[in-house]
C-alpha cells in the first residue's frame, strides 16, 4: 500500500515537475531574446497583426525579402522611395528627390536630418553602401547590378549618382528604388559577406534603422509573436508631420488559417491578412471593399501549361482550354465570391490604364464551352475512340494532370473545377495534389502538364509580369520565371524594350504594351484565371481610420514588401477607436 501510494505521489509529482520544467525551458529560451520583464501590453495602444509570418521568427536580414520577420523593412529599415500602386506614384522617403539627369545617370538626393536609431546621422554614404552590397554575387537582389546596366554609384554632396552603361533598364531600376533597404554602414561593415547575403543577422539588439519602430521583444526559434515599439526621433515626424498610430505592434506567427481565424473572432487581432471565409465579414470586421470581391487583387493566379508537351504546345489547344474554364464556379465554390476574375491579359487592375480594350475584345477568352468545343474541332482534335475525350492529332490519348500544392484548399478546389470543366468539353484533365516541394521541383524541370502559380505581386511596372511569362533564355531549372518554357524571342525582346521606356513616355509605352497584349492573347502561353486577394480584414473595435476604397486608398496589408508601398500610410492614419 505504501509503495503504491508513493508511486501515485511520485507519478503526479513527476508530471508536475515536467510541466514546471517545460515552462522553465521556455523562459530560458525566451529570456535571451529581449530581456523584457513581465508585460501585458495595453490593448488600446497595441495593434495586433497576423497573416505574414509563417516561418520561425529568426531572420533579421533585410536582404532576405521572402523570409525576414514581418515589418523589418517598414518598421525598422526603410527605402529611398515608396511606391503607391493604387495611384501609380513614387513617394520620396529617405531620398527627398530623384531624377534622371542624363540618359545614363540617375541622381538621388538623400534627405537630411535623418538619424539612425542609435543616434548617428544617416548619410549619402550609407545609401551608396546599401546599393553597393548588392554587388555581392550571392545577394538576393544582385540582379540590380546584372540586369539593369548599372555600373557605379558615387556620392556627390547630398546626392548619390547612379551611372549606367548603355540604355538603362528604367522599369527595373524603378523597382529597386523602393525595394532596397538602406542599412547603416557603421553596423553592417562589421558583418562578413556571407552574413550579409545569406545570414540571419539574428541579434535583434543590432537592428539599427531609420524607421518609426524599434524592436522590443519576441525574436526566437519558437516564438509566436514579435513586438515592436514606437520610437521617438523618427524623421517622418519632423520632416513630414507624420506619426504612426499604434504604440506597440505585435505580429503573430501563423499556425494555420483556422487558428488565426479563431484569434480574430475572439477580437485578438486587428489586422487580419490571412484568408477568412466570407461569413466572417460582418459587424466590427470590415474589408477594403464593402461588397464583392471585398479584397483588392494582389496578384494574378495563372494556369501554366507545359508548352514543351503535346498538345499543350499548340496554341489553339491552349485557347480552347482557356474557353472551357468555368471561372464563375471557381469564384463561388473555392472563394465564396472573395476574388475577381482576371483580365484575359493577366494584368492587375492597377494597370487597367494600359489594357488595350480593342485587343481584348478581339482576342480575349471567357467561359464558353460551346466555343471551346468548336475550337478543338477546328484545330483538329477529335474523339476517335468514343470515350468522350479528344485525342491528339496523331491519335495518342490526351490525359493531362493539373497540380497544386497539397493543403492549399482553395486552389485544390479550383483545380478540381478546372478539371471538371475541361472534361465537360472533352479534354481529359485530372487534379492531383503533390507536396509543395515536389511540385516546385517538378515545376522547375518541366515535369508537369498544368499547374497554378501566382508569384508576381504588386509592383511599379507590368514589366515584372511580362518577365514572369516571357523571360529567356530557358535554363535547366526554371526556379522563378517562365515555368511554361515558352520561347518567343520577339516577345521577350519586346519585354526588354519595355524595360527601357520610362512610364512617362505614355505613347511609346502603350505601343509596346498593346503589342505585348496582342501577342499574349494570340499565343496564350499562360492562362490568367483570377486575382488572388490581398486578404485583409480589419477589426474596428480598437482602431479606426483603416484604409478602404472610399477613404484612404492604401494597401491594407502586413505582407512583406508592401510596407514600402503604402502600408505605412495605413499606420500613420490609424487612430485609437473611441470606446463607447
Amino acid at each position: 500500500m505504501m509503495a503504491t501510494r508513493r508511486a501515485r505521489g511520485v507519478g503526479a509529482l513527476v508530471a508536475m515537475a515536467a510541466l514546471v520544467a517545460a515552462i522553465a525551458a521556455l523562459t530560458a529560451g525566451g529570456a535571451g531574446a529581449g530581456g523584457q520583464t513581465a508585460f501585458a501590453l495595453p490593448r488600446a495602444q497595441t495593434l495586433y497583426i497576423s497573416g505574414n509570418q509563417w516561418s520561425p521568427n529568426v531572420d533579421l536580414n533585410p536582404a532576405k525579402n521572402w523570409d525576414y520577420v514581418t515589418g523589418l523593412v517598414g518598421f525598422a529599415y526603410e527605402t529611398p522611395f515608396r511606391y503607391d500602386p493604387l495611384s501609380d506614384k513614387f513617394i520620396p522617403w529617405l531620398a527627398s528627390a530623384g531624377k534622371w539627369t542624363s540618359k545614363t545617370t540617375y541622381t538621388m538626393t538623400v534627405r537630411s536630418g535623418v538619424k539612425w536609431s542609435d543616434g548617428q546621422t544617416m548619410t549619402p554614404q550609407d545609401v551608396k553602401y546599401s546599393f553597393d552590397i548588392l554587388k555581392l554575387a550571392t545577394h538576393p537582389q544582385h540582379a540590380l547590378w546584372q540586369d539593369t546596366g548599372l555600373k557605379s554609384t558615387k556620392v556627390q554632396g547630398r546626392n548619390v549618382v547612379f551611372t549606367f552603361g548603355g540604355t538603362p533598364g528604367i522599369q527595373q531600376f524603378d523597382f529597386y528604388r523602393f525595394n532596397v533597404a538602406i542599412v547603416p554602414q557603421h553596423v553592417f561593415q562589421k558583418y562578413s559577406k556571407t552574413e550579409i547575403t545569406t545570414g540571419n543577422l539574428s541579434d535583434p539588439k543590432k537592428i539599427v534603422g531609420t524607421g518609426p519602430y524599434a524592436y522590443e521583444s519576441g525574436v526566437g526559434a519558437s516564438s509566436e509573436t514579435v513586438v515592436w515599439k514606437k520610437r521617438d526621433g523618427w524623421w517622418g515626424t519632423s520632416a513630414l508631420g507624420l506619426s504612426v498610430g499604434p504604440t506597440y505592434i505585435v505580429d503573430i506567427k501563423n499556425g494555420t488559417n483556422a487558428a488565426a481565424l479563431a484569434n480574430l473572432l475572439r477580437g485578438n487581432i486587428d489586422l487580419f491578412n490571412n484568408f477568412a471565409p466570407k461569413s466572417a465579414i460582418r459587424g466590427q470586421f470590415k474589408t477594403y471593399f464593402d461588397r464583392a470581391p471585398y479584397h483588392l487583387g494582389a496578384n494574378t493566379t495563372w494556369l501554366f501549361p507545359n508548352t514543351t508537351k503535346k498538345p499543350l504546345d499548340d496554341k489553339q489547344f491552349r485557347r480552347a482550354l482557356a474557353n472551357s474554364i468555368n471561372m464563375g464556379q471557381i469564384i463561388s465554390k473555392a472563394y465564396q465570391g472573395l476574388v475577381a476574375k482576371a483580365s484575359p491579359t493577366g494584368l492587375l487592375p492597377i494597370w487597367d490604364k494600359w489594357v488595350d480594350p480593342k485587343v481584348v475584345k478581339q482576342l480575349g477568352f471567357s467561359y464558353s464551352p460551346g466555343k471551346a468545343k468548336a475550337m478543338l474541332a477546328a484545330a483538329g482534335y477529335k474523339d476517335t475512340d468514343g470515350d468522350g475525350y479528344v485525342e491528339n492529332k496523331d491519335g495518342s490519348a490526351i490525359d493531362l494532370k493539373i497540380v497544386c500544392p497539397n493543403g492549399w484548399s482553395d486552389w485544390m478546389t479550383a483545380i478540381q473545377v478546372i478539371a471538371d470543366s475541361a472534361k465537360a468539353v472533352g479534354i481529359k484533365v485530372t487534379a492531383s495534389f503533390p507536396e509543395y516541394s515536389t511540385l516546385v521541383d517538378d515545376r522547375g524541370h518541366a515535369r508537369y502538364d498544368l499547374l497554378l502559380a501566382n508569384d508576381r505581386q504588386y509592383s511599379n511596372t507590368p514589366w515584372t509580369y511580362y518577365q514572369y511569362i516571357y523571360q529567356l533564355p530557358i535554363l535547366d531549372n526554371q526556379t522563378t520565371v517562365n515555368y511554361e518554357r515558352y520561347t518567343s524571342p520577339s516577345a521577350w525582346s519586346a519585354v526588354q524594350a519595355l524595360d527601357k521606356i520610362p512610364s512617362s513616355n505614355t505613347r511609346a509605352y502603350q505601343a509596346v504594351m498593346s503589342k505585348l497584349q496582342r501577342s499574349f492573347l494570340q499565343d496564350l502561353p499562360a492562362i490568367p484565371l483570377w486575382y488572388n486577394g490581398m486578404w485583409s480584414m480589419v477589426n474596428t473595435k480598437y482602431w479606426t481610420g483603416w484604409p478602404s476604397a472610399q477613404n484612404g486608398r492604401f494597401t491594407p496589408t502586413s505582407w512583406r514588401n508592401y510596407w514600402q508601398m503604402t502600408a505605412i500610410d495605413m499606420l500613420t492614419h490609424l487612430r485609437p477607436a473611441k470606446q463607447s
Partner: protein
C-alpha cells in the same frame, strides 16, 4: 504463476502487456488474455453469442460494414462534386449537410467508411501475416534466428510508426488506399510479432509440441498443426486489434494530408473540415460524422475483442 516470461535475449515479454500496448502508432487497447486449454467449437459459439459485449461489438461493426456497402447506393451525389449549396446543415436533400465547398457530407462519409474498412482490413491483414510469421518463426526456432528477428522487431518497434509513415507517405505520394494499407501493414507488425513469439515460447515446451517435433514434422508443419490451433483465439484477437489499429493510423495519415487526395476518406474529411475552420464556423455536421464513424468501427472491434477474450478466458467474465 509468473506473469512475465524471460526470453533468450533477455527482454521480458509478458504476453498480456505486449498485447496491452496494442497497435503501434495509435492507442491502447484491451488485452487478450493467455489462452487456456482449447475448447470445443460448439461450446465457443454458445458462449460467444451469450456474451453481450461480443454481440454488441459485432452488431456495430456489421452495421458499419453494411452502411459502407449500401450507403453509396442511396445517394446520387458523387462525394467530391461541388454541386450543392455551401455550408448547409443537414436537410432532407443532404442528409449530413454540405461542406464549405458545396460537397455532400453523407456521400463523403459512406465512401470514407469504405476506404477505412479497406485500409483496416488490408493493412491489418498484412501486419497480421508479418507479425504472426515473424513471431512463430522466432519463437519456435529460437537461437540466432530469434536474435536476428528480435533485432529487426526492436528496430521497427522503437521508431515511432507515424514518424516513419509521414516520411514514406510524403515520399511515395500515396494515391491509392491499397498502397496506404500496404505501408501501414509493413510498419505495424512488431508488437504482434512479440506477442506471438512469447506465446509460442510458452507453448513450445508443452508435450504435444515436443512429440510433434520428435516425430519429424517440419517447422512449418508444427506451427500450422500444433501451435496455431492452440493459439487460435489469440491470433484472432490479434487480427482484430491490428484491424482497428490500421484504421486509426490511416486516419492520422489522411488527416495530415499524406493519404490519397483524389478520393475521400474519414481522415481526409476531418482534415478538410479543420482547414476550412469548420469548428469555428460551427459546421458540426462536417467534422462530427467522420470521427463518430471511426469510433463506431474501432470501438465495435475492441468491444468484440473483449467479448471474445471473455469467451476464451472465463476468468475475465463479468464480476
Amino acid at each position: 504463476m509468473p506473469l512475465t516470461e524471460p526470453t533468450q535475449s533477455g527482454v521480458a515479454l509478458p504476453a498480456e502487456a505486449v498485447a496491452d500496448a496494442a497497435r503501434s502508432g495509435a492507442q491502447m487497447a484491451p488485452a487478450p488474455g493467455v489462452p487456456a486449454a482449447p475448447r470445443l467449437h460448439s461450446e465457443l459459439f454458445y458462449f460467444a453469442f451469450r456474451n453481450w459485449k461480443f454481440v454488441l461489438g459485432s452488431v456495430v461493426v456489421l452495421a458499419c460494414v453494411a452502411i459502407a456497402i449500401v450507403g453509396p447506393w442511396l445517394t446520387d451525389h458523387p462525394p467530391l462534386a461541388f454541386d450543392g449549396p455551401t455550408d448547409q446543415p443537414p436537410s432532407s436533400e443532404y442528409w449530413f449537410g454540405t461542406t464549405s465547398y458545396g460537397q455532400d457530407v453523407y456521400s463523403q462519409f459512406v465512401h470514407g467508411l469504405r476506404a477505412a474498412l479497406l485500409v483496416g482490413g488490408l493493412g491489418g491483414g498484412i501486419a497480421w501475416v508479418l507479425g504472426v510469421g515473424v513471431g512463430f518463426t522466432a519463437g519456435y526456432r529460437g537461437g540466432w534466428i530469434d536474435d536476428v528477428l528480435n533485432m529487426l522487431t526492436n528496430v521497427v518497434l522503437v521508431i515511432p510508426t507515424l514518424a516513419i509513415l509521414i516520411i514514406v507517405a510524403a515520399y511515395l505520394q500515396v494515391q491509392s488506399y491499397t498502397t496506404e494499407a500496404v505501408i501501414i501493414g509493413l510498419t505495424s507488425w512488431p508488437w504482434a510479432a512479440r506477442a506471438v513469439r512469447s506465446q509460442t515460447f510458452s507453448l513450445k515446451t508443452r508435450e504435444f509440441v515436443e512429440v510433434a517435433r520428435l516425430s519429424g514434422r517440419s517447422t512449418r508443419q508444427v506451427i500450422a498443426t500444433e501451435l496455431a490451433p492452440n493459439m487460435s483465439s489469440y491470433l484472432l484477437m490479434t487480427f482484430i486489434l491490428l484491424f482497428g489499429g490500421a484504421i486509426l493510423i490511416g486516419a492520422s495519415l489522411d488527416f495530415l494530408g499524406l493519404g490519397p487526395s483524389e478520393s475521400i476518406s474519414l481522415g481526409l474529411m476531418m482534415n478538410n473540415a479543420f482547414l476550412a475552420s469548420a469548428l469555428l464556423l460551427g459546421s458540426w455536421w462536417w467534422f462530427l460524422p467522420p470521427g463518430l464513424g471511426i469510433v463506431a468501427i474501432v470501438g465495435g472491434l475492441y468491444v468484440m475483442n473483449v467479448g471474445l477474450d471473455e469467451v476464451f478466458n472465463p476468468k475475465l467474465r463479468e464480476l
